[in-house]
């Protein structure tokens, strides 16, 4: 062999280096792709990228195997005449024919009743475009996967602090001293989290993980606090109580920046009970908190308008206004609320010793109080007060689905927001910090249509498909108070379902409840497998026919890059590209990749041509929008407005001359403006030159306290990021929720819930956080089903995406159910045994792996390793289908019939968040004579035309020689 030190890798073949953005998960790191003779030689982290600073994860490093995956779809496919759905019997068609088909079908629907077209998308990063398409089409039946992902986390915190975790904000670990991670395995922004966590630990920060399972990040925690699933709210409330009891809260912060001191009417007889007492003044309409509320002045011992200079209000007490109205400060109400939530009470529920809970509270409170950070940064608050420094209480949190994916998750996450609030750690150094465009008003301004009239033939939707209701009249319901959307979002069933309820679309459409639809377009969503709950039955619904022999969901279009389980159920398949073959925009209009220090957005620019006839879904939407004559996509005369997607991104403006488009960087004719400015014809080029990323670093004085930072808010207004320069006061007390509750109590005019839902709304729309057991637990036989069953996403896999990846699938080839040895012993099985896991919905057979790193009333497995035989380009004997299993079969998408209705989604009653972590099971050994394969099994899914042939026994990837050697195109 040649001496390795005497040659350079770059001497071999024709080498090109291109930069773009990763898409192996939702993290969106900057990557540098080296090509050798047109094949991917190497994908590495872009060292100059603000997000990942050169690092890359297991998935990102395996992008090559996604690019050359045999699961890739390469041709538009039409279900063969006479072939049944699910049989994967397709014929190749041309794009022209595919477009004609869709155009004709959708054109008719749009002219007749646009809501019979439903567009739901999976883990895409282009909701700004898909949402725009739906709105322009005129259908409200649009959402991405947020409803079953983590909408509770978005809504719970945005309705409390005006921002949330992941892309919206996060823990400032650079300055934090104590970091508490709760209900998180790994997730969005995983590389930045890993980078920050390691630096935090190295600096000597203390890291506590609260989780039923100790894996991933939790492994390196200084302390692991195992908790029973679905009880996080109880823990957080007990901590809040302890902090208040000890006086370990940031009084100054609560008074100045939250509604803690604001006086709430406390008279159950009155119709405005539970609302803030307001004084008469002229208030401009807008989605912000007007400053017309009252404090109780300590010195004068009387009410006074909030933020009156020189006043010091009371946080506690009970007062009577001059006009005789009984009032209490919001903080007093919180104190009363948490009175019953003692640490002993929480111990019984959470399984965490009372002493531990108390200690956790003390650690948080004392670190926040005694290790204050003070940075010499001058800033001015919304009330005109100049501050010489920015201070912070260095306690930070991060939370994810462990809290969110429960039917009590919204209130648990509200509790977390309130805990962060009373510790005074919101948008301050060492605590939680926002990322642009957050903070946004509580709640943000966009609203869904508020009546069925919002949907009209051949007309764009009157409102946004997804929005942020702030009062009952914002709900999207009909005269009877029932849902207008197919997923029943923004109805009284799930009023604040700000991300929709994708998890109920198929069941509802199949049942025709509230109405049947005609065409369902699914993009990048594996609804026939791991993206659905109750998967086995959902697969049947997809192929179920009515009495006339017609499919109950008449037409299903699936756009995907890979042969997922869902492809088999499509009538029309549109082959998408991989991330290396497409343009993309990680837009400020959607979920950009901003940093704490300012807005960041990024793009993808193809590094190689599309395989076969793959076409980016963006181009499909632009084409369809143009063909259907949707106003945003055509000129006045109806002719096509945008050549293609890159042209659209360059030239689209939210309204003519608004200066707001998909990309924030290098706007203005010559690229001299940012965030707002006229289209720049060379914008893509400028992104490309800068590593496909735009990063605007704010002046230091705009980087903190942004909810109330006058300078920042004015800057944000000037650059079109917010509509108002008003302070965003933290909602320790949620008047928004109280408004819905008052409606349900019949105390307000305007929209009223149907009778069946009044009780549910009254109890769950509590303006103060409370704990209640998850809904499903109250409706099933809890003696029979006592064990919680969870899934976690492994760090080397992104959902179902990576089983097709020859390298990643060697790491997770199949999955086990992890069981605490005590629980296994009690149920009569041991390590490696085949067992049954049974819920009230279904049962699966799998193998057990004993683990001391799981709480003994919980079992868990890695998410979406199990596959249907034959799917994802794998052989029918692949471990994924024979030894791998899917927990989703056990989880019901609907609750057992209850007072609220016969067909209620198994979701949070506030947000519609799918409660897939609520599932309870029993476990028992499988019989000796049972086959040693997982159950259920499905008919082997056939390969589709255009997929690569079977690769054979050996695969030796060597860039520059691979495709030739394997005779791939």
């Amino acid at each position: 062999m040649q001496d390795p030190t005497k040659q350079s890798d770059s001497d071999l073949g024709r080498v090109e280096i291109k930069e773009t953005t990763c898409y192996m998960c939702a993290c969106r790191c900057g990557i540098r792709v080296t090509l050798r003779d047109g094949e991917v030689r190497h994908i590495e982290g872009n060292p100059n990228h603000p997000l990942n600073k050169g690092v890359i994860c297991a998935k990102g490093s395996s992008g090559i195997m996604k690019q050359y995956s045999p699961a890739r779809l390469t041709k538009p496919l039409l279900r063969k005449p006479g072939a049944e759905r699910g049989d994967s019997d397709f014929e190749e068609i041309s794009w022209e024919k595919a477009f004609d088909l869709i155009e004709e079908r959708l054109g008719k629907i749009r002219a007749d009743d646009p809501k019979r077209f439903a567009l739901f998308t999976g883990r895409d990063q282009m909701q700004a475009l898909t949402g725009l398409f739906a709105k322009q089409f005129g259908t409200p039946n649009y959402a991405a996967h947020g409803g079953f992902c983590s909408v509770n986390m978005a809504a719970g915190l945005i309705y409390t602090i005006g921002g949330s975790f992941w892309e919206f904000g996060g823990p400032d670990l650079e300055r934090s001293k104590l970091f508490i991670m709760i209900g998180t395995a790994e997730d969005h922004h995983s590389n930045p989290m890993k980078i920050a966590l390691a630096d935090f630990k190295r600096r000597g920060g203390r890291f506590i993980s609260i989780n039923p399972i100790r894996t991933g990040y939790s492994a390196i925690a200084d302390e692991w606090v195992p908790i029973k699933p679905g009880t996080d709210g109880a823990l957080l409330l007990a901590i809040i109580r302890e902090l208040i009891q000890q006086g370990l809260y940031d009084r100054e912060f609560l008074i100045k920046y939250t509604n803690s001191a604001e006086l709430v009417v406390d008279d159950p007889e009155r119709d405005d009970h539970g609302l803030f007492r307001r004084f008469e003044t002229h208030v401009e309409e807008g989605c912000f908190d007007p400053e017309n509320k009252l404090w109780w002045d300590r010195e004068l011992d009387r009410e006074i308008s909030t933020h009156t200079p020189g006043t010091d209000p009371r946080l506690l007490g009970s007062f009577t206004l001059e006009d005789g109205t009984k009032v209490k400060p919001a903080f007093q109400l919180l104190k009363e609320r948490v009175e019953e939530y003692t640490v002993e009470w929480a111990e019984d529920i959470t399984g965490i010793p009372a002493e531990t809970i108390k200690r956790l509270a003390h650690e948080m409170g004392v670190v926040a109080r005694d290790q204050k950070i003070e940075l010499p940064i001058q800033w001015t608050d919304s009330w005109g007060n100049d501050h010489e420094s920015v201070t912070g209480n260095p306690v930070s949190f991060h939370a994810m689905r462990g809290l969110a994916a429960h039917s009590n998750g919204f209130q648990a996450i509200r509790s977390l927001g309130i805990l962060m609030t009373i510790l005074g750690t919101v948008d301050r150094p060492g605590g939680f910090r926002h990322k642009a465009p957050f903070p946004r008003p509580i709640p943000p301004c966009p609203k869904p249509p508020n009546s069925p009239e919002g949907v009209q033939p051949n007309t764009p939707l009157d409102g946004m498909p997804l929005g942020w209701p702030s009062k009952p009249d914002d709900l999207f319901v009909d005269e009877q108070g029932e849902a207008v959307r197919i997923d029943k979002a923004f109805s009284w069933e799930y009023p604040l379902s700000v991300h929709g309820l994708m998890h109920n679309v198929i069941t509802n459409a199949w049942r025709g409840d509230p109405y049947p639809i005609d065409t369902l377009l699914l993009f990048m969503a594996n609804m026939a497998w791991n993206s659905s709950m109750n998967t086995e039955n959902v697969r049947d619904m997809l192929k179920d026919k009515d009495d006339n022999g017609e499919y109950k969901i008449p037409f299903i279009i699936v756009a995907d890059a890979f042969q997922s389980e869902t492809v088999a159920f499509a009538d029309l398949v549109l082959p998408d590209t991989t991330y290396l073959e497409r343009h993309d925009a990680m837009s400020m209009l959607d979920r950009p990749i901003s940093e704490f220090d300012g807005p960041v957005d990024s793009v993808r620019i193809p590094v190689m041509p599309p395989k076969g006839e793959c076409k980016p879904f963006q181009e499909v939407l632009i084409e369809l929008g143009s063909r259907l004559g949707l106003p945003a996509f055509v000129k006045q005369d109806g002719s096509r407005k945008f050549r293609d997607y890159p042209d659209f991104i360059t030239n689209y403006e939210s309204s003519p001359g608004s200066g707001i488009g998909f990309l924030a960087g290098w706007r203005g004719k010559g690229g001299e403006k940012f965030l707002k400015g006229e289209p720049n014809p060379r914008q893509w080029e400028m992104y490309q030159k800068n590593g496909c990323v735009y990063h605007h670093e704010l002046p230091k004085s705009y980087q903190y306290m942004r909810n109330w930072n006058q300078g920042y808010l004015e800057w944000a207004r000037a650059h079109g990021m917010t509509r108002y320069v008003e302070p965003i006061t933290l909602h320790l007390y949620s008047e928004v929720l109280q408004r819905f509750r008052l409606a349900a109590q019949g105390k307000s005019s305007g929209k009223q819930p149907p009778e069946r839902l009044r009780k549910r709304v009254i109890s769950h729309f509590d303006p103060l956080p409370f704990y209640t057991a998850p809904l499903e637990h109250k409706l099933i036989d809890s003696r029979q089903y006592q064990i919680s069953a969870l899934t976690q996403r492994p760090m080397a896999m992104y959902h179902s995406w990576d089983s097709q990846n020859a390298w990643l699938r060697q790491i997770h080839t199949h999955n086990y159910l992890f069981v605490n040895p005590k629980l296994a012993e009690a149920n009569g099985f041991g390590d490696g045994d085949w067992i049954w896991v049974e819920s009230p919905t279904n049962k699966v057979r799998c193998m057990a792996r004993l683990s001391e790193a799981v709480e003994p009333t919980t079992v868990w497995t890695w998410n979406a390793i199990g596959k249907a035989a034959g799917a994802w380009g794998l052989s029918e004997k692949a471990n994924e289908s024979q030894k791998g299993f899917l927990l989703n079969h056990l989880i019901s998408e609907e609750l057992p019939p209850c007072d609220a209705g016969e067909f209620m989604s198994n979701s949070d009653p506030v947000t519609g968040q799918a409660a897939w972590f609520d599932v309870r099971v029993k476990i028992y050994p499988a019989g000796e004579d049972e086959p040693k394969v997982t159950s259920p099994q499905f008919k082997v899914q056939k390969k589709v035309p255009g997929q690569d042939p079977q690769r054979g026994r050996w695969q030796a990837y060597f860039a520059g020689m691979f495709r030739r050697k394997h005779k791939l195109d």
């Binding site: 792996r849 683990s851 790193a853 471990n879």
Partner: protein, 325 residues
Amino acid sequence: MHPAFSVIFLTTLIGVGQGLFLALFTGQLYALANLLPAQTDLFYAQGSMIALMLLIGGLVASVFHLGRPERAWRAATQWRTSWLSREVIVLPAAMLFTAVYGLLHYFGWTQPLFVISQTLPVDATLIVGALGTLATFLLFLCTAMIYASLRFIKAWHSPLTVANFLFLGIASGFMLAAALSAYNSSSLVVFYGTWAVVATLLGAITRGASLYRNSDFRCKISMQSAIGVHHAKLHQKAQGFMGGAFNTREFFHGKSDALLQMLRYGFLLMVFILPVLLILLAYLLESSRLPIAAFLIQYAGLVIERYYFFTEAKHPQNLYYQSMA
């Protein structure tokens, strides 16, 4: 370790071949000392040819162990440090001496070249035989040291490994010599048979000792030391892959304890007890078939013994491959 049949046949076949050569030469020396009746040159030639065939058979078997046998010649270069390299040198040498020894006898080139002390006429066969004997012993040493030198594998890292290879090779070679004598109705059956029994008994002692030594086998290395986490209760959950790897294929035998016990009893019976009994019985019955049976049974037993030898070896790397998830 995963038993590799190529190596099992290599070591057992060359062991028999070496032993047979030693038997032939021992016979010649005894005859020289007039302790045994002299045999025909053809006897030695035939015997040497068989020994050579066995050595070649072993060599052929070894080729199946190599990924790249076409480069096997390179294996002779590192004799300074590698016992394997030394074996690669000594094996052909032993084969050469065996072949020459046989050819000398075949062509009857047995005229004394010189006489020592007026009593010991030295011919070419004696010189080549002596050199062959040296090579044979060296080969036993090299072969055994390939295993015995691996200090990480405690079951092998012992002088007993050398003794076992030596005695079992000699035993099987003498046993074959006895069988051949019996087949040829030669009078040497008793001589070879007796020495075969002696070597078998010596082998029984050393192999028994190594079995005993390995029975309470405890790896010097613990999982704690393997990963440097010193907690009394330490378990692996995931080994980093699930479809197997070289590490799980090469170093684990995957056989049940019951099977291993059966193999152990099987080879003890077949290598030691049955052949000795058959030889004794052969004396009593003056049977010409029983020594042949004794050899065949012993050789089959040796294959099992060598298989077991691999399963006995617990490689410390296995500490890293205990569980998957």
